[in-house]
């Protein structure tokens, strides 16, 4: 551990070596966070089974300080979106994401969470959770093997290592935004897109009326 932290460019006098460590704030802060990422206990579909297997004895992600799975979003650092995200469920997912305290990370596990996967064309399927919440790491596979999930989590750790307190969004003055919860209408609606939706449906109505009017005018002519 001390080797990881002691690379600030300052030499430690020989008599102090092994007793004193010099590091930067970013480094020790990131090291603390990356070594105890608590995932939310939150399974969506098939990938959740592989996630459980990753937590179990053979693959054991406790080795990375991640064994504490929390059912409550208030106590979790990481949301592993493990499976197909449906329109009915995205409402809850956005809510859960908003409830997680910062710093928080999202891993899209598997093809469905990353982009809809085999179910992409489905009428109730959200083609990628990143349509609604920001994603840090995407893991390919259907489902990804436990090894692939571990690799994804290690990648997340590497990402955390490169972050700086000065730049991360949760320490900015303006704070980070709360994602508006989608509304279940005739189809799923993102409150940020209401204007676009209104424009689209108005155009669609005009087009339909024009189509209805056309054959009528032909017959009259």
């Amino acid at each position: 551990m001390s080797d990881e932290l002691n690379s600030t460019g300052y030499d430690i006098p020989p008599e102090m070596q092994g007793q004193v460590a010099i590091t930067t704030l970013d480094k020790i802060y990131n090291w603390g966070r990356r070594s105890s990422i608590w995932p939310m206990m939150f399974g969506l579909a098939c990938c959740a089974i592989e996630m459980i297997c990753t937590a179990a004895s053979r693959y054991d992600f406790a080795r990375f300080g991640m064994e504490v799975m929390r059912p409550s979003p208030r106590q979790a650092d990481l949301m592993i979106v493990s499976g197909t995200v449906t329109k009915k469920m995205i409402v809850q997912i956005v809510r859960l994401y908003n409830q997680m305290p910062e710093p928080k990370y999202v891993v899209a596990m598997g093809a469905c969470a990353s982009g809809g996967g085999p179910f992409k064309e489905g009428y109730n399927v959200v083609s990628g959770v990143d349509n609604y919440v920001p994603v840090d790491v995407y893991i390919p596979g259907c489902p990804p093997t436990p090894q692939a999930l571990l690799h994804g989590l290690i990648t997340l750790q590497k990402k955390i290592d490169t972050q700086s307190i000065k730049q991360v969004r949760w320490y900015q003055k303006e704070g980070s935004e709360v994602i508006p919860v989608p509304v279940l209408g005739p189809d799923i609606m993102d409150p940020r897109e209401y204007d676009l939706i209104k424009q689209y449906t108005a155009e669609k109505l005009l087009k339909q009326q024009a189509q209805l009017a056309e054959p009528a005018s032909e017959t009259s002519a």
């Binding site: 579909a45 449906t86 469920m89 809809g116 009428y123 109730n124 399927v125 083609s127 209408g185």
Partner: protein
């Protein structure tokens, strides 16, 4: 079809000459009954002819004929093949009488037909949408309904093949997502329907007795969809008096990924990997059921070695599913993760076999029409031999020794969540739930398929119908599966594994077929209608996890809230299959 069924069938037309006619369309079987006589006929079938078990209920949209058909598959709980009963109505304002008064097991299935096909069931106690939300626009399984990412009616899409100019469907959509809204819709004036109807059905329930006791308040509690003990994204809404459950409604659809709509766009073979993802803990059994159904339509039989391989894989799946179910039932009872770790350890060994044989741990995609995809690689048979003759029997005994007489399990399980045999049949439960209630109904014996009639094994049955028995029956079934597997590895013949040449595009003659297997969760049925095209016209899955949930409320009424979790764990649901 057995001779017994035929004799009863003729008596059905004799009994109702006016209202029942045999279904004479080519490739079809069963009877068509007039909607107004449906209840009368169903009651007679149940009470006089022994068809006491409603297996499956679904609808088919025959768009070219302008008809909606509701298809019922009825069975005898003593065994035999199912009887198909159909009723037809127009596509506008399709209304059929509800069969819930005759078969309470129709409740969730009728709601599903209403939700996805827009068939209204008159007299249904609680006809709401089930998989989609209230307020969703349209009935998605109707043939003229199109999703936002619609490309063509059937695959392979011209954009991919033969020219192969692939584009991203998102780019063609205004929103870059798969969403679409009706013309003239205004989101700002929209009031979401929410759960108003759901909660309205759960209002204050008058307590039993004279009310002289303590005055208590009733509360409605939501468990899920994000809850550690709902095995996924299932939601239960319960009305509580103190800790006692007065009403319980299952809410699902949070993992509804349009399996059937996509299945009707896919070619027959393309559906095979999708079936893996139904009950994702037991993909081999799902493959099995689908392969059997399409083989029924095609009229082909797999060769001997393939039959053995199929049974081998299906039984290994059953073992891996049941040890997992036991581990997670114990989780729900409060033995947090220790038994589950023992269970997962054994499951991993079986997954190793699957990975060696099929290339994938979970999504095996192993079965083909008329055979299986690959033969066993070198050394795998020895691996399986060691597993089924030595390792697994020992580990099952170990689970049994550690758990069965555990004081807490007995206290939490015995007498909790009791389902009587009459209830179990009436609510159409299947699999371990049905057999733990004292009904020895196992399709491997009741309506044998593949080569199960050659093996020696007992149908596991327990008689108390409580959580404890539903735990015990899974241990019993693992032992019986091991017995079958020991016979399979002893007798596995050499030979081809595929009838004819492996084909990408199979020719499936027009007609309908209902195929079913005894999956680990219960009766897994597929109802497929073919019109002779490369894609199925209708593709319906009779999902045991979904229909078993009908029995969750009767099981839990009067129990404590903590026991509802145990009841759910003992039914052993998988959401991929429940919501499809």
């Amino acid at each position: 079809m057995s001779e017994l069924t035929i004799t009863v069938d003729t008596s059905l037309t004799a009994r109702f000459p006016e209202s029942v006619v045999p279904d004479e369309r080519k490739g079809y079987a069963g009877y068509i009954v007039k909607p107004e006589n449906l209840i009368e006929v169903a009651t007679a079938l149940r009470d006089e002819m022994g068809y006491d078990y409603l297996t499956s209920l679904t609808g088919v949209d025959y768009l070219p004929d302008g008809k909606m058909e509701v298809v019922y598959h009825l069975c005898r709980s003593t065994g035999g093949s199912p009887l198909a009963l159909k009723t037809q109505v127009g596509r506008q304002d399709s209304t059929v009488p509800s069969l819930v008064p005759v078969y309470p097991g129709a409740e969730l299935q009728e709601r599903e037909a209403w939700d996805l096909l827009g068939i209204s069931f008159e007299g249904h106690p609680d006809l709401r949408r089930i998989l989609m939300w209230e307020g969703f626009d349209g009935y998605p399984l109707r043939k003229d309904w199109r999703e936002a990412f619609f490309e063509e009616e059937g695959k392979p899409f011209k954009s991919r093949w033969p020219e192969g100019k692939v584009y991203r469907v998102e780019d063609k959509n205004v929103f870059n997502k798969n969403i679409d809204y009706p013309a003239g819709f205004n989101p700002e004036t929209w009031v979401p329907e929410g759960d108003v109807a759901l909660y309205a059905g759960m209002g204050r329930i008058e307590p039993v007795g004279d009310g002289a006791g303590m005055k208590t308040d009733q509360v409605i509690v939501n468990l899920g969809p994000q809850h550690p003990s709902t095995h996924g994204v299932f939601r239960m809404v319960v009305t509580l008096d103190g800790e006692t459950i007065l009403a319980l409604k299952p809410v699902m659809g949070y993992l509804h990924r349009n399996h059937e709509k996509i299945g009707e766009r896919n070619t027959f073979l393309q559906n095979m990997p999708f079936t893996d993802r139904l009950d994702y803990l037991s993909s081999m059994s799902n493959n099995f059921g689908y392969a059997l159904t399409v083989e029924k339509l095609m009229g082909i039989q797999p060769p001997e070695r393939a039959e053995y391989l199929r049974v081998m894989m299906a039984e290994l799946t059953r073992i891996s599913n049941h040890v997992w179910a036991i581990g997670f039932l114990l989780n729900d009872l409060g033995a947090y993760f220790t038994p589950a770790l023992y269970a997962i350890q054994e499951r991993e060994l079986i997954l190793d076999v699957f990975e060696a044989v099929t290339g994938s741990r979970m999504m095996c995609n192993y079965f083909r029409f008329g055979g299986v995809a690959r033969d066993l690689p070198e050394g795998t048979l020895d691996q399986i031999r060691k597993l089924v003759n030595d390792r697994l029997p020992r580990r099952v005994d170990e689970l049994d020794r550690y758990l069965t007489n555990n004081e807490i399990i007995r206290a939490r399980g015995e007498g909790v969540g009791v389902l009587t045999p009459q209830q179990a049949i009436a609510y159409s439960t299947a699999g371990p739930v049905l057999r733990a209630s004292g009904v020895p109904y196992d399709i491997r014996r009741a309506d044998p398929y593949s080569i199960y009639d050659r093996f020696e094994f007992d149908v596991a049955v327990r008689y108390h119908g409580d959580v404890y028995d539903r735990y015990l029956i899974r241990i019993d079934e693992v032992r019986q599966s091991l017995r079958i597997l020991q016979q399979v590895v002893r007798n596995l013949p050499e030979g081809p594994i595929q009838e004819g040449k492996p084909q990408y595009q199979v020719r499936v003659p027009a007609g309908e077929a209902y195929g079913r297997v005894e999956g680990p969760k219960g009766e897994l049925g597929y109802y497929v209608v073919s019109t002779g095209k490369p894609n199925p016209w209708r593709y319906h899955v009779r999902a045991p996890s979904f229909i078993n949930l009908t029995a969750l409320e009767p099981m839990s009424l009067g129990n404590k809230i903590a026991d509802a979790v145990a009841n759910l764990g003992s039914i052993d649901i998988v959401l991929g299959e429940t919501d499809r």
